[in-house]
Amino acid sequence: MSENKQISASDVEHVAGLAKLKFNDQDLNKFTDQFGDILDLVNTLNEVDTDGVEPTFSVTDQINTMREDVAVNAHQKEELLKNAPDTENGFIRVPAIIDESEEG
């Protein structure tokens, strides 16, 4: 199914890596097919002549709404930590950042 498509399983794996996602082999094949279909759909935009057209990134009528640069303490530390998966002494606990199994 995917031979006409412009994306390979290894391309999909690369994008998954950027998005911090991982697929098993079966899902990778399914996603590659579906991703090819989706790219076929979005590539119809190439039919449109957009030379010299300004891009629209937002349609809001508000421009750069700023507030006073004042620090506030909402005193919500205890409440916020209740939603953390793992805490200790008022801190969020995570696994080691440095992989200690490898030297150097």
Binding site: A19, V53, P85
Partner: protein, 487 residues
């Protein structure tokens, strides 16, 4: 009880005159929701304790006779955060997440003594058009339990359509209020981008997302938008355009108004019954004194492609926050920080959410930004210009909300791009930021068909004027689903 045979005004009078207490109304509402829940699955969370506590407090202080919504139960989509009430966005990622603050719209509901009855089911992170991507199972269409209610605000649509509540809030990024309103035979409105604060709406596509009301009638819809609209400093895109009374023009006749009917909205892929309903609607607007002209939206057919790039790009950025560290799901048996991210996200997100994150990441990645994200943003400009051109000469636009009536559960889940095309008629309005309504306009084999009414930016008053004139001239909104989903 059900809400089929009563109106907002009637309930309000009963509450003001103490013929009924808020507690009694809320209890009856909860009983009905809970008895339907196993079959319809419209809710992720029914908040019996919270709703009854709120009802008791309102009964104790008394009903404000000037506030139609005081004491009325309303359901809220589960991607709108509620303080101390679980909010999941229908994702495993947030299965046990309890927000510590209220969204701006929830603050406003509570300040107006509206009772929050529960949190409605939806497609995961609002990504989908059928409510089938929910981690908590699909919601059913009250008109036929073998069919989808549409999505992503399927729970919010089903609970109103089934007569369990008078109104609910949904969110609409590409049609997620209007398409389910169309599929379930009710009124759903996506306001102008910036009309309603997004503070506390779990972000999907930040330049597209808007919260809006789903109701049984056009008037109730305007009355609920009156409560939730307005500037909020915590959403820098929320507009400081004044909010007066969205119902102000309701009842004014349509004589001399100019209606546009885009030919692309009746073209290939539009179901014959849907097309007929829209053409019939055009005739009704003519009888009401308006003129109807065929117009063209030449770039509308590229709306879906532009939307999937823009919406997915924004989603891939917004959903980076779900990393398993501060809140939400964290995968077990993880050895390193990288492991926490990758396993958490791979296990916590469903397939449709992953597809959008992947497309967005791809569109924004080095070497592809200009070809995808920028190109889509340029096509968005051309589409906006199409609408500006039409609104030079016309007061509002009509067309179908969705190409077809509701489809069978499971019919489109295997093919994502088929599912995406359901939103072909709703997406352009999100890209352009325009206000749009779906309201009942016909039936096909007993399933509701929705008419879409589109107005100029911040001209919700004209949209509601046109919608209520159509509603008053027709009987489609009086039909209700039969018992057990038999229509």
């Amino acid at each position: 009880m059900n809400y089929f045979d009563t109106s907002l005004e009637e309930l309000h009078q009963k509450l003001v005159s103490k013929e009924m207490t808020v507690t009694e109304l809320v209890k009856d509402t909860l009983d009905q929701i809970e008895s339907d829940q196993k079959e319809l699955n419209a809710y992720v969370t029914v908040d019996r304790d919270g709703a009854l506590a709120q009802a008791k407090a309102i009964d104790e202080k008394g009903i404000n006779a000037d506030n139609l919504w005081a004491g009325i139960p309303v359901a809220v989509k589960d991607n709108i955060v509620t303080k101390d009430l679980k909010t999941t966005a229908a994702s495993k990622m947030l299965e046990n997440f309890t927000p510590i603050y209220d969204a701006n719209v929830v603050e406003k509901l509570k300040a107006n003594d509206v009772v929050i009855i529960g949190k409605t089911n939806m497609d995961e992170f609002a990504m989908g058009g059928s409510t089938e991507t929910s981690f908590f199972g699909a919601t059913k269409n009250p008109w036929d339990h073998t069919k989808v209610p549409g999505g992503s605000s399927g729970g919010s649509a089903t609970t109103v359509s089934a007569g369990e509540v008078l109104a609910s809030l949904g969110s609409d990024t590409g049609g997620s209020i209007r398409q389910p309103a169309s599929f379930t035979g009710i009124v759903g409105v996506k306001p102008t981008y910036g009309r309603v604060s997004r503070y506390g709406l779990i972000a999907f596509g930040s330049s597209l997302d808007q919260i809006g009301p789903l109701t049984r009638s056009v008037r109730d819809n305007a009355a609920l938008l009156n409560i939730i609209a307005g500037k909020d400093d915590r959403d820098m895109t929320s507009s400081d355009q004044p909010v007066d009374n969205f119902a102000a023009k309701i009842g004014q006749d349509l004589t001399g108004m100019k209606v546009a009917l885009p030919k692309e909205y009746l073209g290939e892929g539009i179901d014959a019954d849907v097309k007929k309903s829209v053409l019939d609607a055009a005739e009704i607007f003519k009888k009401l004194g308006a003129t109807v002209d065929e117009v063209s939206l030449p770039h509308s057919k590229y709306g879906v492609a532009a939307y999937y790039i823009i919406g997915s790009s924004e989603a891939s950025s917004n959903l980076q926050r779900f990393d398993g560290i501060r809140y939400g799901y964290r995968a077990e048996d993880v050895k390193s920080l990288e492991d926490v991210y990758v396993k958490t996200r791979s296990e916590g997100f469903g397939d449709e959410v992953k597809r959008r994150i992947m497309l967005g990441t791809y569109s924004l990645s080095a070497g592809f930004f200009d070809a995808y994200f920028k190109k889509a943003a340029q096509v968005r400009t051309l589409l906006i210009n199409d609408f500006k051109e039409i609104f030079k000469e016309h007061d509002f636009i009509i067309g179908p909300t969705a190409p077809t009536p509701a489809f069978k559960l499971g019919a489109e889940t295997a093919d994502p791009t088929t599912m995406y095309m359901n939103d072909i008629l709703t997406i352009p309005l999100n890209l352009a930021g325009l206000p749009a309504m779906s309201l009942p306009a016909g039936f096909s084999d007993g399933m509701p068909i929705g008419l879409q009414i589109i107005a100029k930016p911040f001209d919700e008053e004209t949209m509601y004027q046109a919608g209520s004139a159509f509603e008053d001239a027709t009987d489609f909104h009086k039909e209700v689903p039969g018992q057990g989903g038999q229509n």
